[in-house]
Symmetry: C2
Subunit: 296 residues, 2 copies
């Protein structure tokens, strides 16, 4: 086995690293990505989860209901287009006359007048569900799953570990407080058994979301008083996933009801690229050294 030494995944033939904080996968790493995701989907289906595939953009007015912009202005990425007025487009196009026209410092591009900005690139997979189901009264707990590309701007990026865009599989439960707690406890137990079986050293650790100005944000303070996020930490440094108990926060904001009250929710989240990084760091690059991750 390859041991726990840090490895530079930029050297792996199945990983292409881009200076803009993203990676491409191919070959054995793309196959490993899919094996992990199939495993997560099987776990989701054990809970009867329906699967959804969501678009990349979320309307800003939906995230505003969560005070997302006050809480995470440092992370957010917006999709911006040019005002379609012909002279505005013409002016932009002209500034690039001819191929290879010089860009600004560091390849920066100068926009002409932007169109109104009404959307945000998905910051976390599970937001899609609360928005999709808003206003519903649930007759039973609802378990759903999705794989989403998520976007978080960071000061520095590291291949497969900290990226501007990354892949997050979530299994989400919306229901009563008891139903959600039971759902989360079940996954915590299954995950413990899985990590033991394949021999991946994961420790659970309480964490908070990366709020802007955490010491002044009431939600951040609340998270430290009553932990809502428990991370699966590999090698004492890399969270490959988390179990999150949201109380009835999303239920209240999005008018989701269960058993006569605002619904509770919780999710199990897996960062696919980080699973690959932890797996390769621990088991090495040789496929023949990798444990069987499929369910038995």
């Amino acid at each position: 086995m390859g041991g726990k030494a840090s490895v530079d995944l930029r050297q792996h033939p199945g990983c292409t690293w881009y200076e803009n904080g993203q990676s491409a996968l191919s070959g054995s790493l793309l196959e490993l990505f899919r094996r992990f995701d199939r495993l997560f989907v099987e776990w989701a289906k054990e809970s009867g989860a329906g699967e959804y595939s969501f678009p990349v953009f979320i309307p800003a007015h939906e995230l505003a209901k969560l005070d997302y912009f006050g809480s995470f202005p440092h992370l957010v990425t917006f999709p911006v287009t040019l005002d379609p007025e012909p002279a505005n487009l013409e002016s932009f196009a002209r500034s690039f006359a001819g191929p290879g026209a010089p860009l600004g410092p560091g390849g920066a591009i100068r926009l002409t007048r932007p169109a109104a900005i009404r959307d945000v690139l998905t910051p976390a997979a599970c937001y899609h569900f609360y928005i999709r189901f808003q206003g519903e009264t649930l007759e039973a707990p609802r378990v759903v799953t999705t794989l989403a590309t998520c976007f978080r701007r960071e000061a520095h990026y590291t291949p497969l570990e900290r990226q501007w865009s990354f892949s997050m599989r979530e299994i989400v439960c919306i229901g009563s407080e008891g139903e959600v707690k039971q759902f989360l406890a079940k996954y915590r137990e299954s995950l413990d058994a899985f990590f033991r079986r394949i021999g991946l050293p994961i420790a659970w650790a309480n964490a908070t979301d990366p709020f802007f100005n955490p010491s002044r944000n009431p939600k951040s303070i609340m998270q430290r008083i009553e932990p809502v996020k428990t991370e699966m930490v590999f090698g004492g440094r890399l969270a490959v996933g988390s179990i999150n108990f949201h109380q009835n926060y999303f239920g209240e904001v999005f008018g989701l009801r269960r058993a006569g009250k605002a619904a509770y929710s919780g999710c199990v989240a897996f960062g696919l690229e980080r699973w690959i990084s932890a797996f390769l760091t621990h088991f090495g690059w040789e496929q023949s050294d990798w444990p069987d991750i499929e369910m038995t």
Copy 2:
């Protein structure tokens, strides 16, 4: 069978339509999406294609080499973040003080100072390959495939048919002129056989890329003199895919060499959401009425 009448896919339980020109899929439509994509991947593997999964952003300086910004300023979407200087973030966050703070007209959001913009949301899947392989001299033709979410801003959107973001599977060949022509001819023949077998009425039609100011763009004029794009048109109105012969354009721009010359390239592109729309329009919404699309 449901016949060819236009159907409002917003009513389908497996489709969620968003006013921002995107859709979510679940249930039978997500399953159909995956069946089509498995089929396209099988076709790609018949040509020995390696598969890649690319990130959402492409560096602007790479697309500038193709005069992308002069040719398609009306379509492009940029990922924009806020300048991370703390006072700038603070000012943005403060403008959203409290949940549900009002946005501008139509849900528009007002940014404070943006950070430098250096990237573009993927406009077409195959660009990733020419950028990834640039500068290489190929010892043999190279066939590769990827599924990418692509982004094109339009004046109006229609569910599954014209979206701000949509899913494109491409099979790409980079090689000599003869190798690329042979590759494209083979897929044209296979596709004809497939459409006949399942009974989907598709006509081939020459087309041009949607250039800005086409009558003044030399590349657009060139495309009309020597057709490079042949579309698979369903019902006389909806292009569900295309076969594209790029000559040695990408080879020259990105320094790709084959057999002592700038490499030629071509691609077969499938718009997944449009395949679903054409399929449901022609065969109806009942899964039991659908033909078997798997390879025999």
